[in-house]
Amino acid sequence: MGKLHLSVMLLSLTNVKKTYATSEGPLVVLDGVTLDLGSGQSMALTGESGSGKSTLLHLVAGLDRPDAGEIVLAGKSLATLPDRELAALRRGTVGLVFQQFNLIPSLDVRANLSFQARLAARHDPDWCAHLADALGLTALLDRYPEQVSGGQQQRVAIGRTLAARPRLVLADEPTGNLDEATADSVLGLMLQLVSASGAALMMVTHSPRLAGRLDRRLHLTGGKVAP
């Protein structure tokens, strides 16, 4: 608990609710989730399919808005933030890694790697080169996404996320499309680099094994935090 007290509060959710309209009627995905996460902390979100863990991640990333409750990220309440500022938050504060389609197909690996950092006006060529090196991408910089393997694509996605030095990295089953060995190596790299960059990490996973490698673990059941 000591570590918790030392860290600055980066993210806090209070009684967040989210309902989607479906053809069978409203579907409650999140039903009053409350949590917080300090800088530099890492948290695993686990739960069954449909438990709301991805939705929670998307709300935190500012990709979608909660129906009720409050999300405060880096001192800003997301619920009322206009689109433009949500986008700025995604650019500068948050880094996202998804299961697939992380990369911009029309740009080569080098451009993909630096894309978000440059968007956030935080491009540091040395840091980028370091990341490329650390992720083993140096030889692939001139290739296009469709010319590299799935594991390599995810490594580019991680590098791109970290290149912008986000304060919070959000990952949604980043290794879900990869075989176990590749998944382990990619995840290892990610944890290592996130921790080295001082960013907080929130990762959705259905694997208890992977969840175990993070500081905390939050289990969602039916849109609620399991006790």
Partner: protein
């Protein structure tokens, strides 16, 4: 393979359209519009052609020879009687426009009109009232014309309907026509019945062969050729839409195809089902298109009709009849077009491996190779085009060159676009623009068809617009030159001419006699004019080439001027001697003579009178201060009780010509809007197609911190940027098109070449219109993207598509 499998297969295929009604709509609308433009133009052509045929046939112009006055002008009733009594089977003809009603009046004698003249069959049915017809109280007209006039046609004349008459034309007895046209005792021509006839004609009369290859036909043919070319281009543009809509439908149904194949449907059966589906769609769209084409034609026909009647004196009906020839071709071309547009997709389907991967992007990778192939074909086509224009002969070579030019340019467009974007990419101006250009390049293969459509539409508009405007400017300038005199006067007789000139001498600055005679020039019927030695000619006559002291040579009778068509047709240049009646003369000048299909020569008045001593001087150009022209005309009319046709004022002719051209512009502008509309629709269809592929491309950018509005705005800009490049590329293409039309097609069709004049302001307007059309086309896809729910994009990251 049993019927149930086929039925359920068909059901599975068709369910696609139920789920994508917008796509179905695009396909149908695209095909219908393409067919509409094509069949609309064809309808106008068919209607106009039928109208000329009727106009010519009504008085047998197409089959019967005529006798006319050698000096031009009227023939007397007494000439008619003398010829009849000498055994000539001739029939009198009076033609003119009745001023008050604007109707074209044709006066005939039903008693002598040869049965070969179409109208002669109609006279007996004039309500059974032959006496009324001969007495001038009954006339014949097309039923539509009678309805249009609604009773206020000609005073004291009841019109009976007759088939086969051109619109706004009334057939009357010759006597009644002479009264209405204020030309008593005067005939315009005598129609000669076929068969043997006496040999000798009086000297002042000449025999004219039937106008089978008539001037009317030749002049109007070019107009139609242009319209047809326009219609074909429009159709080609429309096929781009169909191609992309079909391509999308096939692409999206790949999983269905795979499943059906896996369930045991053979490739042949599947292809057959899809062909059947396409045929049904093509027929529905074709019918829609023909109906739409009818509306297009009905809307444009009055203007086309007015243009043709103004330009060439050919009357076209204001309303349309449904002709089998165009609705059938409309349907056929819709079906053929659909199959052509679907050919590639069907071919792919036929060869689709049962378990082909559902890859959406393989085509993008293959596109570099495709682009190179296209570029190679483009270069070949452009070379062929240049060859045809430079070395080809005849109208069809010219049009072949035109077609190769347009197709070649269209095929070269993707390479040009790619090069432009590559250059833009190099100008590193920030990460967002880098992505913008990279993404633009990736969109190019998907948009290139629509961009080609836009290129062709723009080029056609610039080309035809430049041609029409050049024609107008040249023609108006030429009118200024040719109609230098303020008033033109025709006397009924030498006596009247003498009285008129006596009265006019103190009241005008100059009285310029105009005399002419019919003559064979370079083996074709033409005319020779005699002109006075006067500054009016020296200063204004539109000479294209001339020797030094040309007017002195004309005045002293040692040289002849010929019109451009005669020079071109005869291959005659300055200094060449041309055979004229009573002795050859060297050419000392060539002048432009637009609108006249026949050869013409011009010599000095003295020389003329020496050669044609019997020609009476009945026509005069009157020079007077322009502001006094109207007053003098009124005085002349009052003093001498001149008929309306005897005195023509220059301002009136010019105003009339300008009105005619403005009508031409209406038609051109309407076709412009329609082709640009079709190009816009092609763009719309392509963008809709692309939108389904775009989510994986756009989602990461959005996730990384761009708002959807921002992305949509960039997409919109991208479309406009590409459209702008296409429009800019269309400019040289359009000018090349105009040049071919003016300098090659016109020379082949008419025998004269028009100087090309460019009007950059018109282009600005056209660019504006094109960008507006493309902007409108991009609007819906843009708004759809900007308003997309986040959950749609998030799905990209979470699920397989």
């Amino acid at each position: 393979m049993n019927r149930a499998v086929i039925r359920s297969g068909m059901g599975a295929l068709l369910s696609h359209w139920v789920r994508h009604p917008m796509q179905l709509l695009t396909l149908l609308v695209g095909l219908a519009l393409a067919t509409a433009l094509w069949s609309g133009v064809q309808a106008i052509n068919a209607e106009a052609r039928a109208a000329y045929a009727r106009a010519a046939a009504a008085v047998g112009e197409d089959t019967l020879a005529r006798i006319v006055a050698v000096a031009g002008g009227p023939i007397g009733d007494s000439d008619y009687v003398a010829l009849r009594r000498a055994g000539w089977l001739v029939s009198p003809l009076v033609e003119g426009r009745h001023r008050a009603s604007g109707l074209r009046v044709i006066g005939i004698d039903p008693l002598t009109l040869p049965p070969q003249a179409a109208v002669s069959g109609a006279v007996p049915v004039v309500g059974g009232d032959i006496a009324g017809f001969l007495g001038g109280t009954r006339g014949l007209a097309d039923a539509e014309t009678i309805a249009a006039l609604g009773g206020d046609g000609l005073p004291g004349v009841r019109l009976a309907p007759a088939d086969g008459l051109p619109p706004m034309t009334v057939i009357l007895d010759v006597g009644a026509a002479q009264r209405l046209l204020a030309a008593p005792g005067q005939l315009d021509a005598l129609i000669l019945a076929p068969g043997p006839h006496p040999n000798a004609l009086p000297q002042h009369l000449a025999l004219r062969a039937a106008a089978r290859d008539g001037s009317l036909a030749r002049l109007t043919e070019s107009f139609h050729l242009n319209l047809t070319a326009f219609g074909f281009l429009a159709f080609a543009v429309g096929l781009f839409i169909v191609h992309s809509a079909i391509g999308l439908a096939f692409e999206q149904r790949r999983p269905v195809f795979r499943t059906l194949r896996a369930l045991g449907l053979s490739a042949g059966t599947l292809t057959g089902l899809l062909v059947a589906e396409l045929l049904v769609l093509a027929i529905i769209a074709g019918l829609l298109g023909v109906a739409l084409g009818y509306l297009v034609a009905a809307a444009l026909l009055p203007d086309v009709g007015a243009t043709l009647s103004g330009l060439y004196g050919a009357t076209v009906p204001g309303t349309l009849s449904i002709r089998a020839e165009w609705w059938a071709t409309g349907l056929v071309i819709a079906v053929l077009g659909t199959l052509a547009a679907a050919g590639q997709s069907l071919w792919r389907l036929w060869h689709l491996p049962v378990l082909a991967p559902a890859q959406a992007r393989a085509w993008a990778l293959a596109s570099t190779r495709t682009r190179r192939l296209q570029f190679g074909a483009a270069v070949a086509l452009l070379a062929a085009s240049a060859g045809l224009v430079a070395f080809g002969h005849g109208l069809w070579a010219a049009f072949g060159g035109l077609g190769a030019l347009l197709l070649g340019a269209a095929l070269a467009l993707p390479s040009i676009m790619d090069a432009v974007v590559r250059v833009a990419q190099r100008a590193r101006s920030g990460v967002l623009w880098e992505w913008f250009w990279a993404d633009t390049r990736q969109q190019l293969p998907g948009l290139s068809l629509a961009l080609m459509a836009l290129l062709l539409a723009m080029a056609a508009n610039i080309g035809v617009g430049t041609m029409v405007t050049s024609f107008r400017t040249t023609f108006v300038g030429w009118l200024d030159q040719r109609l230098a005199s303020e008033l033109y006067l025709t006397a009924a007789s030498a006596d009247e001419a003498a009285r008129l000139t006596l009265w006019l001498r103190p009241r005008t600055d100059a009285i310029l006699p105009i005399v002419s005679a019919e003559a064979d020039l370079i083996g074709q019927p033409g005319s020779i004019y005699g002109v006075a030695d006067h500054a009016t000619y020296r200063d204004h006559w539109p000479l294209l080439q001339s020797v030094d002291g040309v007017w002195d040579r004309v005045a002293d009778g040692t040289g002849v001027l010929v019109n451009e068509q005669m020079a071109r047709r005869g291959g005659l240049g300055l200094g060449v001697e041309v055979a004229l009646p009573h002795g050859a003369l060297p050419i000392v000048g060539v002048y432009s003579d637009y609108g006249n299909p026949s050869p013409q020569a011009l010599i000095g008045l003295v020389a003329f009178q020496r050669r044609f001593p019997d020609t009476e001087v009945l026509r005069f150009g009157l020079r007077i201060a322009p502001d006094r022209a109207a007053g003098l005309a009124a005085d002349l009319r009052q003093t001498f009780d001149l008929p309306e046709t005897a005195l023509v004022d220059q301002a009136g002719i010019k105003a009339f010509s300008l009105r005619v051209f403005d009508r031409t512009f209406t038609v051109t502008a309407a076709l412009n809007v329609l082709t640009l509309g079709v190009a816009g629709l092609a763009m719309f269809a392509s963008l809709l197609t692309l939108a389904t592929f775009r989510q994986p491309q756009l989602a990461p950018v959005w996730a990384m911190g761009l708002t959807l509005r921002h992305i949509a705005l960039l997409d919109f800009c991208r479309t406009l940027v590409l459209a702008t490049v296409a429009c800019l590329a269309a400019l040289p293409l359009g000018l090349a098109l105009a040049w071919v039309l003016l300098a090659v097609v016109n020379v082949e069709a008419f025998g004269w070449r028009l100087p090309m004049q460019v009007f950059p302001l018109d282009w600005l307007g056209l660019f504006g219109a094109a960008l507006l059309a493309i902007g409108l086309a991009a609007l819906i896809p843009t708004l759809k993207l900007a308003r997309r729910a986040p959950v749609d994009l998030l799905r990209v990251f979470a699920h397989e598509r």
